[in-house]
Amino acid sequence: MEPLTYFRDAHVVRQIARETAHLHLSQPVQLMEVCGGHTAAIYRYALHDLLPPEIKLISGPGCPVCVTSNDFIDRAISLAMLPDVTIATFGDLIRVPGSTRSLADMRARGADVRVFYSPADALEWAKAHSERTLVFLGIGFETTACTLAATIAEALRNKVENFSLLSALKTMPEALRVLFTAPDAQVDGLILPGHVTTIVGWHAFEFIAREFSIPCVVSGFEPVDLMETILMLCRQVAEKRASIENQYRRVVQKQGNVRAQELIREMFEPCDMSWRGFGVIPESGLKLRSSYSQWDAENVSVEVEPTQEDAACRCGDVLRGRIHPTQCALFGTVCTPDTPRGACMVSAEGACSAVYQFSSGHHGQ
């Protein structure tokens, strides 16, 4: 089986786009995606350009680096200044500006900040460097939470005492509830994040269709997947239905990955969590249970600088789907991927970065 060729077949993509256009939707339709992987794929394959003008795609709070708030980065920076601490993180976070500086700035000044592809690799590193205290910056959604739960369970089993977690882990359903409860929400259809849904199961998002009458489709990540998802959403709009459908049947099940959910529940409990663009959302985060407090870097007392927000950066509005990145006055001039002013321009999965890199006019820059 060579599935990728078919899921990337340009002709199939165009054929589905044509079918979508044939629906002749009378009103404008705004579809939101809430996964950084989807954002990147949509722009990379320029799917907008294939759609009829009445269909608009907007990004929501789905890029894990982008929704990480300044106070978390500031705290990580304070920890990075401790002499025996090594900060471990996923690549993009390093360049995100906190209140006054980034982890990359700290690294340039001698702090030990390392990028890991997997928390399991970071655990191996900690085992081999018992003289250092490794603090893993846990950013991401349920998809990442389960990998960290598994890693900490492993640290427990192997009695690795110099591995710890600073958690900004978030759960997606609560944020979407806040987003759609807001009176200015203008979303006619929701592209559900394929891999968060892989973990939590699609039943966890049923309430969006039921309570908010917003059509929902779980989507895969290839261009054909996304285009089929858009067609499925537009069909629901045309038929005035709002239900939850699963385009990513080859991976996502209704009940999700039960083993992963068990591990998350075993290691973490829900907590209030601060999101860029949203503020604190009750019960929308995950923190280690008190029985595992030994592995919780939240308990290390450090002085953290007062949080400041860059008033000119409009990441918050971008993450709520209120503005398109190009509506930010700094976009493409002051703020570019080389000189990012905000998180949404740093991460490859951020809407500002995706629009900058793949939209016409910026190609090849």
Binding site: M1, P3, L4, T5, Y6, F7, R8, D9, A10, H11, V12, V13, Q15, I16, C35, G36, G37, Y45, P64, F90, Y117, S118, P119, A120, D121, G140, T143, T144, C146, T147, A150, A153, E154, P193, G194, H195, T198, I199, G220, F221, E222, P223, V224, R249, R250, V251, V252, N257, R259, A260, L263, E349
Partner: protein
């Protein structure tokens, strides 16, 4: 972070596994997918397999797509040219 490409499981040693795609091999953890067997395609996130690809359902989707592309010329144009 969401690299969605399924990779083929080649070896299993306890909770560790080796996956492969296009000649590139990677060591991954199977803690979250204890039912994964050699030969399965698994979805990888941050070094962990998070789900096993259901090949039957993938085939169903592919068959649907083929139907669409058969109405077309040759259906082999690849977006990743």
């Amino acid at each position: 972070m969401c690299l969605a490409i399924p990779m083929k499981l080649l070896e299993v040693q306890g909770v560790r596994g080796t996956v492969e795609l296009g000649g590139v091999r990677k060591e991954i953890m199977l803690t979250l997918t204890p039912d994964a067997r050699i030969g399965d395609y698994v979805i990888i996130h941050a070094g962990y397999a998070i789900e096993i690809l259901d090949e039957e359902k993938a085939q169903e989707t592919l068959d649907l797509l083929r139907e669409i592309s058969e109405e077309s010329t040759d259906g082999t144009a690849n977006l990743l040219s």
